[in-house]
Symmetry: C2
Subunit: 285 residues, 2 copies
């Protein structure tokens, strides 16, 4: 895969990730003013140009920053691309009709291939029946997960704290989700943040995709929020064999993890956790 | 508005909201098995039948239960209907091709009016430029919010605990979001839960819509998760003048709250909170 300069350069524009505001807080029965910092949330429009035509795919609400990673990760998660080689370029809008900050809220992905799945079809990927959907996913061509890595219990239970320590925007706002890739030594490879927990995962995977770090077969994904079906789906699509979270997993997340052979760990608090599936990757120590 | 029997009846089908599983947990350096309960997550397909035609609108992942409320609230939030009178009936799929539990994952809404907004347009409702979007929303015809209610500080800071006390599925799984309507005396009117925090809000609003409790001008909406743009948008569309959460609000959520004159309160913890907008509705006491 060749990463062109247009794709690897990521002009973050005038897009701060936090914003200063004044708030009131109660004190001694009255309201007093103080400063506060909010996580920035802005819409991002994702456009697609392919050999078969152009389309606006979606508008997502996200925290600005790492937008090319977000788009690349999202394209992989949705099955629209299968790898970095399918992507020719991802860039901010160059339409003269958009000025200033506005152009940093529109990203166009140029693909070398026709989009593999578009729009509503992806939403119906799991069908409408839980059982049928799992069968469909079994046949949906997720890349096989590696047997490894093996995580010692003592490393595993420290991962949420490692994620939080890397969340710079959370430390200021207390209100953004985070996702991180880590290896079995407990080394943090990358941390990304977003007001939307799905976006944080897309940014992490997109970073790996755009920077030649695929496959991710030796890593675990650590997330700050609940582990839903979509989070497991994104990890599975990226070939990540293990997902770890501080909150719980849903029924469909566990079902999908079992189908694809992924290790799923939730409620990591102190030295405690719940291993929902794939416990062979968790070892004493 | 007349609520027909088809709409007020809510056969919840064989759709439990939690599921028993076995998990491993570390103990004394080894992994031991124990039982656990997961929040159920299943897809729901929303179909629309109108005088102008039929369509499948979306597939959302949700916790089963209160599905008619979820659909009604979602239709209002999206601007597809403006009130209960626009809805003739909401019912589970009666297609013979679907059997058993599966038909409880498809809901058809029959409208008396052509759908006011469909599909992608709604996603672009906020445009791609934060500033332009706020201007657009100013003109977007949100119902005017009432001046009331007035919440005493001591009532306000107790609201998250009242919500949590009403979250039966959270108490078992620790992994679902909740939303509640409360009045200024601190009385909880309704609590709903879902793996997705947006769905929990849609269920609360849909309950009010289907049971003749509109307008909601004397209530506050309490949410368990972060307060994003979409949460404020849903509350504004339902005419709720106040949103209270245990976590923070995003920049665009605060901007929209200011435009529509809504009171927005975040980080309610102990006797502390941050009032982002509309502080006139918060009074000593």
């Amino acid at each position: 895969m060749a990463i062109g300069p247009e794709r690897s350069s990521q002009p973050e524009g005038g897009a701060p990730r936090t914003r200063q505001v004044m708030v009131f807080e109660p004190r001694d029965g009255a309201l007093v003013r103080r400063g506060d910092r909010l996580a920035v949330e802005e819409p991002l429009e994702i456009r697609l140009e392919t050999p078969a035509g152009a389309a606006t795919l979606t508008v997502t609400m996200r925290t600005p920053g790492n937008d090319m990673e977000l788009v690349a990760g999202w394209l992989l998660a949705e099955g629209i691309v299968e790898g970095a080689d399918d992507i020719a370029q991802i860039s901010y809008c160059v339409d003269a009709a958009y000025g200033g900050d506005q152009r940093f809220n529109v990203v166009t992905a140029n693909l070398r291939v026709p989009a593999r799945q578009i729009g509503r079809e992806r939403m119906s990927a799991c069908g409408v029946d839980g059982a049928a959907s799992i069968e469909a996913l079994r046949a949906a061509g997720f890349p096989p997960l590696s047997d490894g890595p093996r995580f010692a219990i003592s490393v595993l239970t420290e991962l949420p704290e490692l994620l939080r320590a890397g969340q710079r925007t959370f430390q200021v706002t207390g209100a953004v989700h985070g996702a991180a890739l880590v290896d079995a030594t407990g080394t943090v490879i990358i941390v990304r943040e977003d007001v939307d927990r799905h976006n944080a995962v897309d940014k992490v995977v997109g970073w790996a995709l755009l920077n030649g770090h695929m496959p991710l077969s030796d890593t675990a994904l650590v997330v700050s929020g609940r582990i839903s079906f979509e989070i497991v789906q994104k990890a599975a699509r990226a070939g990540i064999p293990m997902v770890v979270g501080v909150s719980g997993a849903t029924s469909l997340a566990v079902a999908l993890a079992e189908v694809v052979g992924m290790t799923l760990v939730g409620f990591v608090r102190g030295t405690s956790c719940a291993i929902y599936s794939g416990s062979a990757r968790v070892v004493p120590g």
